[in-house]
């Protein structure tokens, strides 16, 4: 593989990062209402959230992407490959983030709710000043693990023609068949290289947040 080839594949980093971050943002946001529905007292809302989460997690991501891109895109609504990949990965992320949020909610000691009541905090202040900082700390490690997993899942966007790392590697390998091994090894190494700083930042942030509350 030539230096030009390496540059060509590295050019895919931008789409890989864009798809990953947008899908994560979408999922992190949509996960909040799904989690709220799940812990709601209304049986209907709770049931709806459970069904939604189970369905989203039981069908492989690549099938969701195809459903959106080829299924909906073939008749109902024209959708480009990048939005299709972001929306498909985003809704799957939403289901998983909802479960991560729910696990974090469980970890908050019930005394915290009682204490904020006793202090006469408003519901908003209770949420913003008491719950969110704790939830953030508890959620951070699992959310980062998920984000790194999502980075690798974003490779399937290549199957619908998003010009990210895997797509460009496949394109180059079809031109230089003899170098396919190096090309895909290089592409794989890029994913590992991108996830290293992510993991490092998360570790540092987690340690700092922990140190803040350590007794």
């Amino acid at each position: 593989m030539t230096a030009e080839g390496a540059l060509l594949i590295a050019g895919g980093i931008s789409w890989t990062v864009i798809v990953t971050l947008c899908a994560f943002g979408l999922g992190a946001a949509l996960g909040v209402p799904i989690c709220a529905m799940h812990v709601s007292r209304s049986r209907v809302l709770h049931g709806l959230a459970v069904v939604l989460i189970v369905i989203l997690r039981s069908v492989p991501p690549i099938v969701w992407i195809f459903l959106l891109y080829f299924g909906i895109g073939s008749g109902w609504l024209s959708i480009g490959p990048v939005p299709a990949a972001i929306v498909a990965l985003g809704v799957i992320t939403a289901a998983n983030m909802a479960e991560i949020y729910r696990g974090a909610l469980k970890s908050i000691h019930p005394g915290q709710w009682d204490a904020s009541h006793a202090l006469g905090l408003s519901a908003w202040s209770e949420f913003k000043d008491v719950m969110v900082p704790q939830l953030f700390r508890v959620t951070l490690p699992s959310a980062t693990t998920y984000l790194i997993g999502l980075l690798k899942d974003s490779a399937i966007a290549s199957t619908i023609g998003v010009m990210e790392i895997t797509y460009l590697a496949g394109y180059l390998a079809s031109k230089q068949f003899g170098a396919a091994l190096q090309i895909f090894a290089f592409a794989g190494a890029l994913y590992i290289l991108i996830s290293l700083p992510l993991a490092a930042v998360a570790r540092v942030a987690d340690a700092r947040l922990r140190a803040k509350v350590a007794q």
Partner: protein, 219 residues
């Protein structure tokens, strides 16, 4: 709506035979990958440094690189180094690597959950290190790891859909093929999604039940 059901009935045999291929790949990958994962989990703790580093590299690459890249590496890349694998062979090789890497972490956590007293007791009883692992530590650690391993098995069935990219005639490939010839993408992909869900939903419920069961005993 009638048209859809007739179309589904007509395409179902092709999708079901694709599903058999998906299940075969998954089964092969688990049978090969999980024992390798156990070996990797033990070797990562080895005191022989080169061995430890080599295992760590295998595990970290298997977890760090997307499965889709590993599949294409095996299918398109290996022939250039003189090793020609069929799409089934490449699928099993690549996904076994992924399985080995992920399950080694699950199993390592399981082994670490075995109380220290157990290995001390084994030593006191005069068991050799190998016997202590074989009869005392590994059986207990694997029991702890079992629910997570089952959960991973479900993920692997889903990951088998990636073999679409290397022309393995599994469930998604069959659906896609029917889609390109009939142009009824939405309907055929929905049926494929339903078939995946039909396996994965009961399987996840079963895993959750097993987890609760085992949790009761631990408590």
């Amino acid at each position: 709506m009638n048209g859809t059901f007739a179309f589904w009935a007509e395409s179902l045999p092709a999708l079901l035979s694709g599903m058999v291929v998906s299940l075969q790949v998954t089964a092969a990958v688990l049978v090969i990958g999980i024992p390798l994962g156990l070996v990797a989990a033990l070797l990562v703790q080895s005191t022989v440094r080169p061995l430890r580093w080599l295992t760590l590299a295998v595990v970290e690459i298997g977890r760090g690189a997307p499965a889709l890249i590993l599949l294409q590496l095996a299918y398109y890349g290996l022939p250039s180094s003189g090793l020609q694998l069929s799409s089934m062979g490449s699928a099993i090789a690549a996904l076994s690597w992924t399985t080995c890497a992920y399950t080694s972490e699950i199993i390592r956590a399981g082994l670490q959950a075995v109380p220290r007293g157990q290995s001390e007791a084994a030593m006191t009883l005069g068991l050799s290190r190998l016997d202590a692992l074989r009869y005392v530590i590994v059986p207990q650690g694997m029991r702890v790891a079992a629910p997570a391993l089952l959960g991973f098995a479900i993920l692997m069935l889903q990951a088998s859909s990636l073999c679409f990219a290397i022309a393995l005639p599994e469930l998604l490939s069959r659906a896609q093929l029917i889609g390109t010839t009939s142009f009824r993408y939405m309907e055929i992909l929905l049926l494929a999604a339903l078939l995946y869900a039909a396996i994965c939903i009961p399987a996840s419920l079963l895993v959750a039940a097993i987890e609760r069961r085992l949790g009761q005993h631990a408590a």
